[in-house]
């Protein structure tokens, strides 16, 4: 498996591609990219919807698409860091809710607080919550699924106890803060630009740095990674911490984008996030997938909602379609896995 970092192919994947010597190698490796299916699906979806309803790609339409995807992109990127290590974080919806309410509280109780301070405070709170997850997973050595299912309820419970029926509205927050999700630069809303920066930064980290490659190694085979000398516990802990920070960032942006933040903010978001990552080609058992793919998966899932409405398709079909996409992603993943295994066998046979 890919334990030799940085020198690997630029494709941000954990899967070993066995020396592509075939004639169609360039095309072949392009098609093998796990991001391809989801990107094709996204482009097809947008074009079909546009053909049926040109307003879909109007100035406001594009802006809405980007804004809808922004928060999900950030969460999916964070989730990818965790899933790649063969873990999962189900508490992100609750973290987002807590941080969003915290953001509302800060603005309402500390008049004139600088926006940047709120961002830092929100991400710090996210970091603490993520660190709790990370510690429980690495120290207690209980599967992350169970740990984060527990913290999902604990964090949501804290939010309920703290917020009660209190809600903070956009009106309580400064106009400049709300403007982050209204104003655009070159057609991109400001908060979407933040999300794109996050994707680039994390992608570079995962493709180009030693600790980033370690995450793939851990997900491919935790025991082998340990033997190889990778500080598995520390890396996994940091992945959860980083995911917490990103969920915190998403929480702050949520407060900028939406009207009210309260006890139920972000409920149920975690499954959408995991779905976005899986649809984007992140293998649920770790070891492969990229943040770019997850980000595109997030865009695809949020775009489906808008597209179905623009096409006037009955809303009740939407969840079924998302389900089909997830199954398709898993089938593609499985086929790719089988093919890689066969190639590996063939090339090993040749080397003998």
């Amino acid at each position: 498996m890919t334990n030799t970092p940085t020198t690997q192919s630029p494709a941000p994947q954990g899967q070993t591609v066995a020396r592509p010597e075939s004639r169609k190698s360039a095309l072949g490796s392009l098609i093998r990219l796990r991001e391809v299916p989801v990107t094709v699906a996204l482009i097809a979806l947008v074009l079909i919807t546009y053909a049926a309803n040109p307003l879909f790609l109007g100035a406001q339409g594009v802006k809405d698409l980007l804004l809808n995807a922004t928060i999900m992109i950030i969460l999916a990127v964070g989730q990818t860091l965790v899933i790649v290590t063969r873990n999962i974080d189900l508490s992100v919806g609750s973290i987002l809710g807590l941080v969003a309410f915290f953001t509302g509280t800060l603005f309402a109780t500390v008049p004139g607080i600088p926006i940047i301070v709120v961002f830092v405070a929100g991400m710090a709170l996210g970091a603490v919550l993520g660190a709790v997850n990370g510690l429980l997973v690495t120290v207690a050595k209980v599967p992350a699924l169970v740990i984060t299912l527990g913290t999902l309820y604990i964090y949501r419970g804290l939010n309920n106890a703290w917020a009660g029926g209190t809600q903070y509205f956009a009106d309580d927050r400064p106009d400049e803060f709300g403007a982050l999700s209204v104003d655009t630069v070159l057609g991109f809303p400001l908060i979407t630009l933040i999300a794109i920066l996050v994707v680039i930064a994390v992608a570079v980290y995962m493709v180009g740095t030693r600790p980033g490659r370690d995450l793939y190694a851990i997900g491919s085979d935790p025991a082998a990674a340990e033997l190889f000398g990778i500080p598995v516990a520390r890396r996994v802990f940091l992945a959860f911490l980083a995911n917490g920070v990103l969920a915190g960032l998403a929480g702050v942006l949520y407060a900028s984008r939406f009207n009210s933040v309260g006890a139920t903010t972000g409920t149920g978001m975690e499954l959408d996030v995991v779905a976005a990552a899986v649809v984007g080609g992140v293998a649920i058992f770790g070891g492969s997938g990229s943040v770019a793919g997850a980000a595109i998966g997030a865009v695809l899932l949020t775009t489906i909602t808008s597209a179905l409405t623009a096409l006037r398709v009955d809303k009740f079909w939407q969840q079924a379609i998302v389900g089909v996409l997830i199954l398709a992603a898993i089938v593609i993943d499985r086929l790719a896995g089988i093919r890689t295994a066969r190639k590996l066998r063939e090339s090993e046979a040749r080397d003998v």
Binding site: Y153, G164, F258
Partner: protein
Amino acid sequence: MELIRNYTKRGNTGKRRAARRIASFAAIATSLALIATGCASGADTSGGGETSGDAGGDLSITFIPKQLNNPYTDVVLGGGEEGAEEAGFAATEIVGPLEASASSQVSFINAETQAGTNVIVIAANDPDAVGPALEEARSAGAKIVAFDSDTNPKYRDVFISQVVAKGVALIQVKLIAEQIGGAGEIAILSATANATNQNEWIKFMEEELASNPEYKDIKLVTTVYGDDDDTKSFQEAQGLMQAYPNLKGIISPTTVGIAATARYLSTSEYKGKVALTGLGLPNEMRPFVKDGTVTEFALWDPAQLGYVAAFAGKALADGTITGAEGDTFEAGELGEREVGEGGVVIVGPPTQFTADNIDEYDF
């Protein structure tokens, strides 16, 4: 799995409160254990058996709203607690789910039945899903008061309605007609697809639009559902704009929906071009009325709803009324109320809010 909040009524003794705290701690511990073992239980953890523990003759009342931690519900329940105290209930409880789904209230009703609560006041998320549980409660001696959103009439004694359902529907149609100049396409953004009150209003709106010649140029193009979820309502509003480019106005007969839609409109190019009205909380809608996104909307005083429900519950429990048509009871400072056809008690007319009067209201 639902999480539960127990509100302890002011004036209870410290000892009782401590006992409850222990009970809820035990409940939390149990929940955690269940979570840890991956078990999905019915969340029947509401410190059972203790609610009506006072000596005979003292009556207990429990409010089960559609969902806790909803600002509108909080105002209703605030009125309910006040009413319960004035009406002379010895113990008041508020329990309920954190999400407004059809089945989520059942376990709370069961717990109240076991606790022997005398009066259960409920706003139904689904008129029939709560039925069997309520029947059980009734056979155990509890009186059932529905408020805000009715259950199937055979499952309750009386229903406390905001206003006449038709009146609420007509006022919203009238407001939107005024705001779009009497012609054009409109849409409705509702709560959940099976909410009793929403569907009744929508039905009356459709009838009115079809039958009243004044509205012959107004076309209702669709009804969408935001599930009383801020994010979802927001995206539904956005979808409406794309799917119906000629849309002139939106009616949102739910406080969450109208606020989310207002937020979307005020941050988009449609601000001031697409009219929005419906039922909203003044505190939540104030900025959107001030910035011109919304010109006029309506609502009754939600606190009165809970207040009257408490008194109706007391009258039922005392045997003063049975819920039959023509029964009357005193509702504290709001005076006498009469039970109308089908066991419905009407609270009062809705108020209309504009930039001129909105500052006079605080709820």
